[in-house]
Symmetry: C2
Subunit: 251 residues, 2 copies
């Protein structure tokens, strides 16, 4: 916890704060809906200026894609970061995005309200997991999964002491929370750093490494997850069991 002052609001509690509430839940009568309702009421009553972006109600598209860009820097090959910068510099950002950016630009305080929904549309309850059928006994037990991910920044930034944090930890929610939860054995991930910056030779070498990884997938080391019996009924590690992933840690 950082006790240093920051720019927005501290020791300025009497000024009007501009707030943007971003709400991502499809059901108004849900608890998430109630939390956003309380936030709107509380902050409005405190005299603040509150805008709401109700993403489901707006049918806001979550996925970035080439369709957002009408005035393309490079019509032949879509590179998201370059097109974003180009659109911003030329005022051609899609209206739906520009409207959200305008709300965010004027806000002093951003509140994100959402449920921790891990599984998207396909790994559904009943198909991929059920009460008592998760982790070791998840319904997709017997299958292997491997994540191949590319990054925009260097391997250094994803080192354990890098500014992004360790790549294994960044992927933990996918590896443990999604794949392992549904019963998959999970092979070590295959990571390519900054593919946009590498030479043709490095690119070919990396693609060869990927082919080799896949040919040897049966023998590729699996990530370690504590088995069910290492957890108590409360789903916490038993006192005698040492946390082994960097992500979990003992008291």
């Amino acid at each position: 916890v950082d006790e240093r002052p920051d720019q927005a609001g501290r020791n300025e509690t009497h000024r009007t704060v501009k707030v943007l509430l971003v709400h991502a839940h499809p059901v108004p009568q849900s608890f998430n809906g109630a939390l956003t309702g309380v936030a709107l009421k509380t902050l409005t009553e405190a005299g603040h200026d509150v805008a709401v972006s109700d993403l489901y109600a707006m049918r806001f598209t979550a996925t970035a894609s080439a369709e957002d860009f009408s005035d393309r820097l490079d019509p032949d090959c879509f590179r998201l970061d370059r097109e974003q910068t180009h659109a911003h510099e030329n005022g051609s950002t899609a209206a739906e995005i520009a409207a959200e950016q305008a709300k965010l630009a004027r806000a002093d305080l951003l509140v994100l309200q959402y449920p921790m929904w891990w599984f998207g549309r396909v790994l559904t309850r009943g198909f991929a997991y059920l009460p008592g059928r998760k982790y070791d006994t998840g319904l997709l037990r017997g299958k292997v999964a491997v994540v191949s991910v590319t990054t925009g920044t260097s391997a250094d930034t994803y080192a354990p002491d890098g500014i992004d944090g360790a790549i294994a930890d960044i992927l933990w929610p996918v590896h443990n929370g999604v794949l392992r939860y549904c019963g998959f054995a999970v092979a070590e991930p295959f990571v390519t750093h900054m593919p946009g910056r590498i030479t043709a030779t490095e690119r070919a070498t990396q693609l060869d490494r990927w082919a080799e990884c896949l040919r040897g997938i049966a023998d590729r080391p699996r990530l370690f997850f504590r088995p069910r019996e290492d957890y108590g009924r409360d789903e916490r590690l038993r006192p005698s069991v040492r946390a082994r992933s960097g992500f979990q840690h003992n008291g």
Copy 2:
């Protein structure tokens, strides 16, 4: 790394493996496209049976919503987990989802291929960050953000020794990778566990706590992030600097 054998493939390298490649990148000529191309070629040449789900090409909707459910268990209040189970049990899962589930059900090996894209559609390069304008100097510097998240499982499961891992770590990619990267000061998150299982009194108390949190947001403790000067030019912590978040760790 777990050296134990698992069910799919080890010591059975000569049988045909059924593979599902899930590819999430909009541009065929991207490096992600090349990786998926290599995977398809390598695994096919090895005699395996490979299916591909190219999510952008399929225009696959990523977001779970009530629109996926035509035969509703409860038409008045949408609860995702219950509707998923109901649809699965009644064979009324939406065709687009059922098709992906069928591909996954027959697969021995799942390969996920995607770029680490942190920022979605709104926090664009140029608007929210630029080279040399990130973290401490991100373009949204001066703003405060707070995440309010609900969970489907207990506080125990999100304890540091819980089966999901510490909630602070689960949220690190959002807190550090998205919000802090763009320059926000980040207040401690507000977490509600299992709102579907709590009593009306507990619900009212929790909503009051949220109102109190928001009224006091100017003084709510901020998460600690190492300042820029604690990192070297390689964006790793300088050797003399101790990692302070649970997520980063020194050699």
